[in-house]
Each structure stands twice: as structure tokens, then as C-alpha cells.
């Protein structure tokens, strides 16, 4: 789930307002966008990118794709995902928020046996600074993203952006950013993303940006306890009232389930340094020897 420059990316919904805007940003950054999809515009060119009626058509014509990023409204998300999975996409980045939960379950049920990893729904995307990005993150903003050794995992795009900005401000850079999404049922969990960074050679430390709701942080505690790399975490939602959905469909505390303290205690017991404010994240990170913040990317 770390996006690479060599990955062959298709954009579903490339001709829409957002799809078109972000395709331009991704291309300019170096992401290898090989095709776009719009069933009504097959045969057109969107700038330099050929448009096909489906991901299946695209894969057939250009000889396979690796990753698809979906700029698709909620009601059409399931059929778009079916198309991508049938086309043999290995990584499906679902940006869409408010997909009906029964459709989300169907999506996960059909992707898993096909060997397709879903990131999201309701993710802001993936960034590998200096290499490529897919989604709606300000990868191109040099105050926010710079190549480095910190792996960042975040449920939220806006808060993930702030944390990344603070990291760069403090002289750090990121090996990659993995936006896992704000929905309750995610294809890629906190534990999945942690394992990826533990394997990744460029990553020396990990920042986990959690939030209230669900039990993903708690479920990741065992993974963390077995990890070699240090993990620092900020968890959003300490001041949020229980029983209310705080913007994200997944951010809701029911009884004691999903509460701030349940997550914080579980992470701390696993050896994670949990900090109280976003600015404290960078201060809590170990500084890697030989890292020069002034070195140009």
C-alpha cells in the first residue's frame, strides 16, 4: 500500500471536476497514470490520458494496471469497485465518503478473494514523497511532504496533513503517508499499515494518527508490541461527546467502545508514545543519525 512511481494507475471518474483536478496534480507529481475511466467518454483523450469505458477495457487495451483510484459518487461506488477488481487491479483506493455500508461489505467481500487490497473508503489517499501520490492529499506542498524516514498512518486527511506539516517543520520527512480512511469498515486497517511500514526499508519510525470510534487501534496493539520500529501516536477525539458521529461515520463512541482512553491505554501498553497535541508528535520522535533536514529532496 506504499505507492511507487512505477505503479500503473487508472483514475475512475477522470472527467469529473475533482477527478480531473487531481489527475492533473498526480501527473505533475510523477504518478504514472496510464488510463482514465468514464463509460460515456470511451475513446476520448483526457489531456495525455486515454479514456476507456471500464477498467476492464483499459486493462485489456494497455496490458494490465496495478492501482485504481476512484473519484466516484457513493451510489456508483460498488459497481466501480466490481469493475476494478474484475480488471485485476491489485490496489483499489476508495476516496468516496458515505457509501452505503451494505455496498462497502460487498466491496470487501469481492476484493479479498481476488487478491485486491482496498484502501478506504473515505481515505484521502497515499503519498510517497518525491515519488508518487494517489488521492487528494497536498503531496506537492513542500511544507507538508518531503522525502524522509517517517511512515505516517492517518484516518483523517486534514489532520494527517497537519501532522505531516509539523513533521517537516521539525526537520523530518516521510517515507510514505498511508491514509486508511474515516469509515467504520476499512479495507486496510491500522495493523495492516503498521506491518507495511515495519517491512519498508526506508521507514525508521512510525506516526499513527488515530481517532475515536471502532477498535482498530486496540486491535493493532499486538502488532505493535512485536515491532522493532518506534511508534508515536496522536489520537483525535478526546474532547468529543459519546454517542455522536463526529463527522466521520467511524468516529463514534458507543458505551466504552471506541473511546479515547481505551485506545490510548492499549497503545501505551504496547509501548507507543501517545502525545496530547499534534505539535508534540515531532518532538516525541527519535531523531535518526545522519538525517540532515537541510538536504534538498
Amino acid at each position: 500500500m506504499i505507492v511507487r512511481r512505477s505503479d500503473r494507475v487508472v483514475v475512475q471518474g477522470i472527467t469529473g471536476r475533482q477527478g480531473s483536478f487531481w489527475t492533473e496534480k498526480m501527473l505533475a507529481y510523477g504518478t504514472r497514470i496510464v488510463a482514465g475511466v468514464n463509460p460515456k467518454r470511451a475513446g476520448d483523450m483526457h489531456g495525455e490520458v486515454p479514456v476507456y469505458a471500464s477498467v476492464r477495457d483499459a486493462a485489456r487495451e494497455i496490458g494490465g494496471v496495478d492501482t485504481s483510484v476512484m473519484f466516484i459518487p457513493p451510489s456508483a461506488a460498488l459497481s466501480a469497485a466490481e469493475d476494478a477488481v474484475a480488471a485485476g487491479v491489485r490496489l483499489l483506493v476508495v476516496l468516496t465518503e458515505h457509501i452505503p455500508s451494505h455496498d462497502v461489505m460487498r466491496m470487501h467481500a469481492l476484493a479479498a478473494p481476488a487478491g485486491c487490497r482496498i484502501v478506504g473508503p473515505n481515505t484521502a489517499g497515499l503519498v510517497t514523497p518525491g515519488e508518487a501520490f494517489v488521492g487528494i492529499m497536498p503531496a506537492f506542498n513542500r511544507r507538508v511532504f518531503r522525502p524522509g524516514s517517517i511512515g505516517v498512518i492517518s484516518r483523517s486527511g486534514s489532520l494527517g496533513t497537519l501532522i505531516c506539516l509539523n513533521l517537516v517543520d521539525a526537520g523530518h520527512g516521510q517515507s510514505a503517508f498511508i491514509g486508511i480512511g474515516g469509515d467504520p469498515m476499512l479495507g486496510t486497517t491500522v495493523a495492516d499499515a503498521l506491518k507495511e511500514f515495519e517491512r519498508d526499508r526506508k521507514t525508521e519510525a512510525i506516526v499513527l494518527v488515530g481517532e475515536i470510534g471502532g477498535a482498530m487501534e486496540e486491535a493493532a496493539a499486538d502488532t505493535i508490541a512485536a515491532m522493532r520500529k518506534p511508534v508515536v501516536s496522536f489520537i483525535a477525539g478526546r474532547a468529543s461527546p459519546p454517542g455522536r458521529k463526529m463527522g466521520h461515520a467511524g468516529a463514534i463512541v458507543m458505551g466504552s467502545r471506541g473511546s479515547y482512553w481505551s485506545k490510548r491505554h492499549a497503545l501505551e501498553a504496547a509501548g507507543v508514545r501517545v502525545v496530547d497535541t499534534p505539535a508534540a508528535v515531532a518532538e516525541a520522535l527519535p531523531r535518526s543519525p545522519g538525517f540532515d533536514p537541510r538536504e534538498p529532496a
Binding site: 475533482q18 451510489s75 455500508s101 451494505h102 470487501h108 483525535a236 478526546r238 461515520a249 496530547d276 497535541t277
Partner: protein
């Protein structure tokens, strides 16, 4: 979206699950008349929340006179913040055993699960704590549904005797209802085994996925209205997510994560947030209306505007805030922290039009807002 018992039971009945004869009553005389027809009955407050029994919202009555007294006591009562305006009068049944049946979305396994317990009548959390061995789980496949034979074989261990097939039927039909209605939870508790044989759904909870309401238009009209404040309703009509809170620092931020964090830092600095309000996603163009909402709360003594633009452009959001501020002319201090997409233009705009210097660190902006609120 939650449903009152009477609505949920109508759906159960349509799904072929037996429910007691009952009548929905809006006033005391209707309740009395219903009991004359039904005989010994339960008079039940209609409220989309549990715990109504403990709150005095359910009374057993033998005749019309008692029904009148019960209805009089319950109507107008407040339970979990809801004012009771509707009663369900239901014929009492002769219960041999209380069971539990539900179908719900299991977030961890990302699939539906059918749940059954032979120890109904209490919350599933209590059952899980006190009688864990009474709970039977049948994971379902969202694409293929749940197989009757599989449900039946799992229930073999539940000592249901001659009711095994009837309970299996209820669970299969409950799954169909869950599937057809885009539910997150449909729960029958208790599901009564009757003295003379047979089953009866005595109470039902139904909760639908809000994200699916666009394709469930008929059900969307029948759901219970959420308990909201005037400002929360106004926000909803503007397409904004606003939650009113008891503090005095008004919050305007983009994105759920950043907004929660702004509230957290307010508390960390010793203050209390007056609201949750995020203008993330496509709502980033609604900053003007959003600020109007923040300021409409009379408790607000200072405002923190915290933007970190990725998808949301901070220049567009800042323009909306500046516009609203100059139109509404509030006599309140406002503090900014702005970063990300469109940052330079946004900062320039705030400096030029409001003569305010945004803080670089959100923590500093929040601290200033907390201090100004007193």
C-alpha cells in the same frame, strides 16, 4: 436512522415474523378504546431509544380505566431527551421463555452476523457478560445471504425443542429484512416463546444506515427524527455537520479529524469547545454559512478558525469566513491558523481584510482563543 417500535414491528409483520396484535395511539381515549378491544395489554411509550421500561415508559393494564391512567402518565413524559407523543398498546402474551434474535453489521469482520441467545430480555452486552454460552453467532455472506440449514445447525445447541424450526424461520426472515432495508441493526428482544407454543416478537429495534437512505426513500420518511437542537437542524438544512456543545470557544475547522483535534487542544489549554463543525469535503465552499452557525450560539465568547487544506482549499474557506465576518460584524475575538492548499492567498486575505495575523501553530491560536473566552 432509528425507528420507533411500532414502525419496526410493522416491518417485522410484513417480513412474516409474528408480532402481537396492537394499536398505535396518539391520545388517552384511543388507548382506552384499544384496551377495550385487546383486553389485558401493555401501554408502551414510542421512543427510538432503549431503557424506556426503567424510565416508566411501559405499563401493564387490565382495563380501559387503567389504560387511561397509564396513557395520561406516559404521554408528554420525557425519555432520553425525547417527548413521548405516541403510544403502542399491545395485547399481553403468555410467555414461557424470553429469547434474543438479531442481525447486525459486524464492523470487525466487515460482514453481517446473525445473533441468537436463549437468554433474552436483557441487553446483549449483559447477556454477553452474564450468559456468554447462551449466545450463538452465524456469520453471513453479504453477497449470498444466510443459509437456512446453517442457521438451523448452529441453533441445535440452543435446546429449542419443537420451536427449532420456528426460530430458524425468524432468523432467516430477520436477515432478509436486514438485507432489504439496508439496516445496520435489526433486533428482536425479547423474542417470546409462548406457553401455548409459537413465537412472538415483543420488542424490536431497527437502525438503518444513514448513507443508504437515498435508496430507501419510503423508510426514510418513517424513521424517527433525530434529537437535535435548533442550530443543529439549521446546519443540516445547509448540508453541514454541526454538534452543539456546552463550552464557549466557537470552532470552525475543515475535516473531521482536524475539527476533533481543535476541540481536544481547546480542552488541553483549559477551555471548552462550543461546537463541533467541520466544513470538509465538498462543504469547504460553505465557510460563510458555517461561521454564521458558530456565531449564532449565544454562549460563544471567542472563535478559533483552524484550516489545514488538502482537498479543501484554504483560500476559498478564508474568503467565506472574511465575507461572513464583515457582514455579521461580531464583537468577538477570532484567531486563525491556516495551512496547506491555498495557504498564501488565505493568509494574505485575512491580514488585508480583517487586519488579523494568523498564528503559525494551531496550538498557539487555540491557546489565545481559550484565554480570550475567559
Amino acid at each position: 436512522m432509528d425507528f420507533e417500535e411500532a414502525e419496526a414491528k410493522e416491518l417485522l409483520g410484513q417480513a412474516g415474523i409474528p408480532v402481537p396484535p396492537g394499536e398505535l395511539c396518539l391520545d388517552v381515549e384511543a388507548a382506552a378504546a384499544a384496551v377495550r378491544r385487546l383486553g389485558r395489554s401493555a401501554v408502551k411509550a414510542q421512543v427510538p431509544s432503549g431503557k424506556r421500561g426503567k424510565a416508566g415508559g411501559i405499563r401493564l393494564v387490565d382495563d380501559a380505566g387503567q389504560a387511561r391512567a397509564a396513557a395520561k402518565a406516559i404521554l408528554g413524559m420525557e425519555i432520553a431527551g425525547y417527548r413521548i407523543e405516541r403510544l403502542l398498546v399491545e395485547k399481553c402474551a403468555s410467555i414461557a421463555q424470553e429469547l434474543y434474535a438479531a442481525v447486525l453489521t459486524d464492523v470487525e469482520s466487515r460482514a453481517p452476523v446473525v445473533l441468537f441467545s436463549s437468554a433474552g430480555g436483557m441487553d446483549i452486552e449483559e447477556i454477553a457478560a452474564e450468559r456468554p454460552h447462551s449466545i450463538f453467532r452465524v456469520p453471513a455472506d453479504i453477497a449470498r445471504g444466510v443459509e437456512r440449514a446453517r442457521v438451523r445447525s448452529v441453533l441445535q445447541g440452543a435446546a429449542l425443542g419443537e420451536d427449532l424450526d420456528a426460530v430458524t424461520d425468524v432468523l432467516v426472515r430477520l436477515y432478509e429484512l436486514y438485507s432489504r432495508t439496508d439496516a445496520e441493526l435489526v433486533e428482536i428482544n425479547p423474542l417470546a416463546r409462548l406457553r401455548g407454543g409459537g413465537l412472538l416478537a415483543l420488542d424490536c429495534k431497527l437502525s438503518l444506515d444513514d448513507a443508504a437512505l437515498f435508496r430507501q426513500p419510503e423508510l426514510a420518511r418513517r424513521g424517527a427524527p433525530e434529537r437535535t437542537t435548533e442550530l443543529e437542524r439549521r446546519a443540516r438544512s445547509l448540508g453541514l455537520k454541526y454538534i452543539e456543545l456546552p463550552g464557549n470557544v466557537g470552532v470552525l475547522a475543515n475535516g473531521a479529524g482536524l475539527t476533533m483535534t481543535t476541540m481536544d487542544v481547546i480542552e488541553h489549554c483549559g477551555g471548552a469547545p462550543a461546537n463541533f463543525l467541520e466544513i470538509g469535503g465538498d462543504a469547504y465552499t460553505k465557510a460563510e454559512a458555517a461561521l454564521g452557525l458558530v456565531l449564532a450560539n449565544p454562549r460563544v465568547k471567542s472563535v478559533i478558525v483552524n484550516f489545514c487544506g488538502a482537498f479543501a482549499r484554504t483560500d476559498v474557506m478564508a474568503a467565506g469566513v472574511v465575507e461572513a465576518w464583515q457582514k455579521l460584524k461580531p464583537r468577538l475575538p477570532v484567531f486563525f491558523s491556516v495551512h496547506g492548499t491555498g495557504e498564501e492567498e488565505a493568509v494574505e486575505l485575512i491580514k488585508q481584510r480583517l487586519r488579523i495575523e494568523p498564528f503559525d501553530r494551531m496550538e498557539d491560536a487555540v491557546r489565545a482563543a481559550v484565554e480570550a473566552a475567559g
